[in-house]
């Protein structure tokens, strides 16, 4: 009990030390981290022009580029955990949240109300969700140890499409990069780097030879061949759809989540929850005031 009583004092001293060393922003990030745990995902909703960030048990939305955040309540979350978020092109404020114990939930009013979308999935053990870039009702869900499921009716029903890459998938995104036999491409952040497949699920391929745990992947929707990834070895950029990668400047300690905004701003969040922005494709970074 004495240990618990002492905790706030210890934390305050730690926060003061961090403030003296790194400034108030680091304290705010540390406090958020203390409250929500490490960040899980970052996403940009082009319809609503909002940035989204997720922790295992909380979702936040920002309409000012990450300067301030509002918590979004997800009623069906229950004891489940958030693992993935995806904004849909279906309209302003349409997005999906997925995670173990949650399955897939969808909102079409910016998070005011949520609806479960699990009919046809083998379990709620969903580890990633991705929205199709151009087809508003198409969405993908990755179910642990099962594979990738596709829905073409906004999650009302699902169909098994592929077993998926075997190497620890942590994030899946859809891209409308040219050259697909079908309608686009899927990029997966995995334990060995980035894997890539046309959205017909024809053949998984390594996207370059990163050979490192990838935590996140995103792309520039204005130039879809420009892919960005945050890996255990640092941040990397590809200008050719993931064939070749160049290491970028890292904004701070290990970045674990990336998102690209319509305005051309690349966002990176580190494992402490601090947010950084780059207006020059990752050439230089500036910390965002939270």
């Amino acid at each position: 009990m004495r240990r618990l009583d002492a905790f706030p004092r210890v934390f305050s001293l730690a926060a003061l030390s961090i403030a003296l060393l790194f400034g108030a922003e680091a304290v705010r990030a540390a406090e958020t981290n203390q409250r929500d745990g490490p960040p899980i995902a970052l996403a940009y909703d082009p319809g609503a022009d909002t940035l989204l960030k997720a922790y295992a048990d909380a979702l936040y939305r920002s309409s000012d580029g990450g300067q301030s955040w509002q918590k979004v309540t997800i009623a069906p979350l229950g004891d489940g955990q958030i693992a993935s978020i995806a904004a849909s092109p279906a309209g302003k404020g349409v997005m999906y949240v997925a995670g173990p114990g949650v399955g897939v939930v969808r909102t079409d009013d910016g998070g005011k109300t949520w609806v479960e979308r699990i009919e046809g999935l083998p379990s709620r053990d969903v580890i990633a969700v991705a929205a199709h870039t151009t087809q508003p009702d198409t969405v993908y869900a990755v179910v642990r140890e099962q594979g990738i499921y596709r829905s073409q009716d906004a999650g009302k029903s699902w169909q098994m499409m592929d077993r998926g890459p075997r190497q620890g998938l942590v994030q899946l995104i859809h891209s409308d990069m040219a050259g697909s036999m079908q309608t686009g491409w899927l990029f997966a952040a995995t334990s060995t780097g980035i894997r890539r497949i046309m959205d017909c699920f024809c053949l998984w391929q390594d996207a370059g030879g990163l050979g490192s745990q990838a935590h996140s992947v995103t792309y520039d929707p204005r130039q879809p061949a420009q892919i960005y990834t945050a890996t255990e070895k640092g941040l990397f950029r590809s200008t050719d759809g993931g064939e070749n990668w160049v290491e970028m400047t890292s904004p701070s300690s290990k970045a674990v989540a990336l998102a690209f905004a319509r305005s051309g701003i690349l966002y990176a969040m580190n494992e402490e929850g601090a947010l950084f922005r780059s207006a020059d494709q990752g050439g230089t970074w500036k910390q965002v005031n939270a």
């Binding site: 050259g179 699920f201 053949l203």
Partner: protein, 146 residues
């Protein structure tokens, strides 16, 4: 005897997909012949694909994939297959500039393309046939569109 064996194997192939949508036997027969003439040299006499088709070759190109149940042809709608056969397709990650799949628009008539696809469908599992049918509902062959 040879003719009997050929006929028997043809029946077996059509029966393999008995619980999938039926195919026009004349179209399948014609497609088999066209396939042998124009496709088999790359995709294999039995549509088994080129060896190591999942890995890029020395030119940095993906070899011709199988068209049977081991490949991914069944994942595409009729419209998409028609387009790929007629217009060809280039893997954007090929290290050469040539088409990965040559264009047959000046070689095969629309009916011949449909016949080849009909033959290829006999090589898929019933599940694959049903999936492909579903994919084709909104994306049929071009001249089947309203």
């Amino acid at each position: 005897m040879g003719a009997m064996l050929t006929a028997a194997s043809h029946v077996a192939i059509v029966r393999a997909a008995d619980d999938a949508p039926s195919l026009d036997p004349d179209s399948v027969k014609s497609g088999r012949s066209i396939y042998g003439q124009h496709c088999a040299s790359c995709h294999g006499a039995n549509a088994q694909g080129a060896p190591d088709w999942q890995e890029r070759d020395a030119h940095g190109e993906l070899p011709a994939p199988p068209h049977d149940a081991e490949g991914h042809t069944w994942r595409h709608s009729d419209a998409m297959l028609y387009e790929m056969v007629t217009k060809g397709w280039r893997d954007p990650f090929n290290k050469t500039t040539r088409l990965t799949m040559p264009a047959f628009v000046d070689v095969l008539s629309p009916e011949q393309v449909r016949a080849v696809v009909a033959y290829i469908k006999t090589l898929w599992t019933p599940e694959q046939r049903r999936f492909q049918l579903q994919e084709s509902r909104n994306q049929p062959f071009p001249h089947q569109m309203p």
